[in-house]
Amino acid sequence: MPELNLLKAVNLALRQEMRRDERVVVYGEDVGYEGGVFRATEGLQQEFGEHRSMDTPLAESAIVGTAVGMAINGMIPVVEMQFGGFVYPAFNQIISHVARMRNRSRGRYTLPMVIRFPYGGGIRALEHHSESMEALFAHIPGIKVVIPSTPYDAKGLLSSAIRSPDPVIFMEPKRIYRAFKQEVPEDDYQIPIGKAKVEQEGTDITLIAWGAMMQETRKAAAVLSEKGLSPEVIDLRTISPYDSETLVKSVKKTGRVVIVHEEPRSFGTGSELVTMLTEKAFLYLEAPPARVTGFSTIIPLPRGEQHYLPSTERIVMKALETIQFLT
């Protein structure tokens, strides 16, 4: 079984889905000949030709808008936004059409399509190249939002996204594109959308994260374990529709929870999860659910990023505080 990093796992998922189903086409800015600025689509044009892996004019609204048409007319477009910061010119197409076509036409026109893009900070990049804004998409009814945190998951989740009859926003944590390798089966496998993964079982506190923040969260869990505590670690994997069942079950067990995310705190994904947990596990909560997040600010340019991005230590501190609450 090959050892792949997350980026190569994305590439492999695209390649296999394109082999499996000739309706799958991949396009975006610099996606074809160049293979993408991160090389996620490398080799696809060579293998499948210019009619399956296309370079496009510089126009995100058009990339997404044409994908709507493509999907209606029998294709499965998997389009790339070069960075998460550049999806916004396509926002109208996403909220007004991608998310609505099925409902608007009462199921007559459905949109099996994927919009994938690298997101998140920590790579010392220019402005607009480091944002995380998953809650913006998760608030839109009619689309699904998926974020992998390992190479194995990236392949399995992207494969599911491409086969999903519903449109999926697939956000790739670019900070860990090449951070580590994992065994990734060449074989076909899918990871279901909408299911979180309990990565580590524990009894004292539940740590919930996704994407690149899983790395910091795993490290924080290790620190807590060293201190003799028993953290449960959950990778959310799907932001919308998220797996409330798994989360509630865990928090009913531990009574304490810390949610970790990069995106701005206010109106972020953490707020949604805390509210859901408060509604469904109110009587089990032994401390207020806590959040370790990016600030409610614009993510700073690289010389300030280290402050903004949740670190292992910030998670540890908040977890300890939560565990010590009223005990």
């Binding site: 058009a62 808008g65 999907a71």
Partner: protein, 364 residues
């Protein structure tokens, strides 16, 4: 050939039939059989009667907001009639005539405007997209559909409609550029009805014609007398043949006039004069085709009157049915959000049903 001879930069406008129904450009008169011409006239008449009726229902408080197509029947029917059954139509919201031509059932159309999504559920073989409200956004769907047709190696083409105002939107430009760059088989039909709500065409853009915008994309473009159904047909046919044979997209500016209000919420008297409206009444596309048909003895005044009465009766009857069958059950709001209902939605629906039960029980 028509496109070449009517360069919009020379401010030429293509016409075949003048305002009195005379064929002034016989060389370019399309070769249409009688049956088709009569069908055109009938569809235009039907579209007009539906418009008048729905506007009236709205005034009576029976109908919600409606966007009439009165005055623009030739622009839509002259262009849609070049399509084959396998071709695609991507509308904005003012293409009643074109939808009728394609066989869209009245009850669906009325259900849509009456405020129920069921109206946008087309039959499987009716390749029409739902009404698209966000201006110009649908043009990209047309380009995507046509691109897929091309990639699949079919000869399907796609026609899409939009207004003069739509040409100011970024999506218009992106769609035109993309279609030309990838030579996708699309007919861009701009219904220049001279207004975007209250905004006159002259203020919308400094370009003399909308057709000349095609130059920016290396695409053929032409301005056509949009109230002349034959000119619309001839230009559209040329564009369709080009598209089918790999020649890529075209832009047709149908120079026409919105004779009614923007929608039933709008009062056009606020921003335009009676004289202007009257001058356009003289160019009414239906009057023009009617004169042609009467002159050629393709139809009689009596036949027209009979058809009109039939159309009116049909509208009355279908609309009554729609009025009675349009309530929405809560389930309908949730069922089509995703291929399978999510647990979150199921929970919300259950909650809502609990609430309904509580109300039913007298709030106990």
């Amino acid at each position: 050939m028509i496109f070449e001879n009517y360069n919009p930069l020379e401010e030429k406008r293509f016409q075949v039939m003048d305002e009195t129904g005379n064929i002034v450009n016989p060389d370019l008169m399309p070769n249409l059989d009688e049956k088709t011409i009569i069908r055109m006239l009938r569809t235009m008449l039907q579209a007009r009667e539906i418009d008048l009726k729905l506007v009236m229902y709205q005034r009576q408080g029976r109908m919600l907001t409606y966007a009439p197509n009165i005055g623009q029947e030739a622009a839509t029917i002259g262009s849609i009639s070049v399509l084959e059954k396998e071709d695609w139509m991507v509308p904005a919201y003012r293409e009643l005539g074109a939808m009728l031509w394609r066989g869209m059932p009245l009850d669906k159309m009325f259900t849509y405007w009456y405020g129920n999504e069921r109206g946008s559920h087309m039959a499987e073989d009716l390749k029409i997209l739902p009404v698209s409200v966000p201006i110009a956004s649908q043009l990209l769907h047309a380009v995507g559909i046509a691109w897929a047709s091309k990639l699949k190696g079919t000869t399907e083409i796609t026609i899409t409609y939009f207004g003069d105002g739509a040409t100011s939107q970024g999506d218009f430009s992106e769609a035109m550029n993309w279609a030309a760059a990838y030579q996708t088989p699309v007919l861009f039909i701009c219904q220049n009805n001279q207004f975007a709500i209250s905004m006159p065409r002259s203020k919308q853009t400094r370009a003399h014609t909308l057709a000349q915008k095609s130059v920016a994309y290396g695409m053929p473009g032409i301005q056509v007398d949009g109230n002349d159904v034959f000119a619309m047909y001839a230009a559209s046919m040329e564009a369709a043949e080009r598209a089918r044979t790999g020649g890529g997209p075209s832009l047709i500016e149908a120079y026409t006039y919105r004779m009614g209000a923007h929608t039933t919420s709008d009062d056009p008297k606020r921003y335009r004069s009676d004289e202007e409206l009257d001058s356009w009444k003289g160019k009414d596309p239906i009057a023009r085709l009617t004169k042609y048909c009467l002159n050629k003895k393709l139809v009689s005044e009596e036949e027209i009157e009979t058809w009109r009465k039939e159309y009116i009766a049909e509208v009355d009857q279908v609309f009554k049915q729609v009025e009675q069958n349009s309530d929405m059950k809560p389930e309908e709001i949730f069922e089509n959000m995703y291929s399978k209902m999510t647990p979150q939605l199921q929970e919300e629906l259950d909650d809502y049903k609990n609430y309904l039960a509580w109300k039913e029980r007298g709030q106990q």
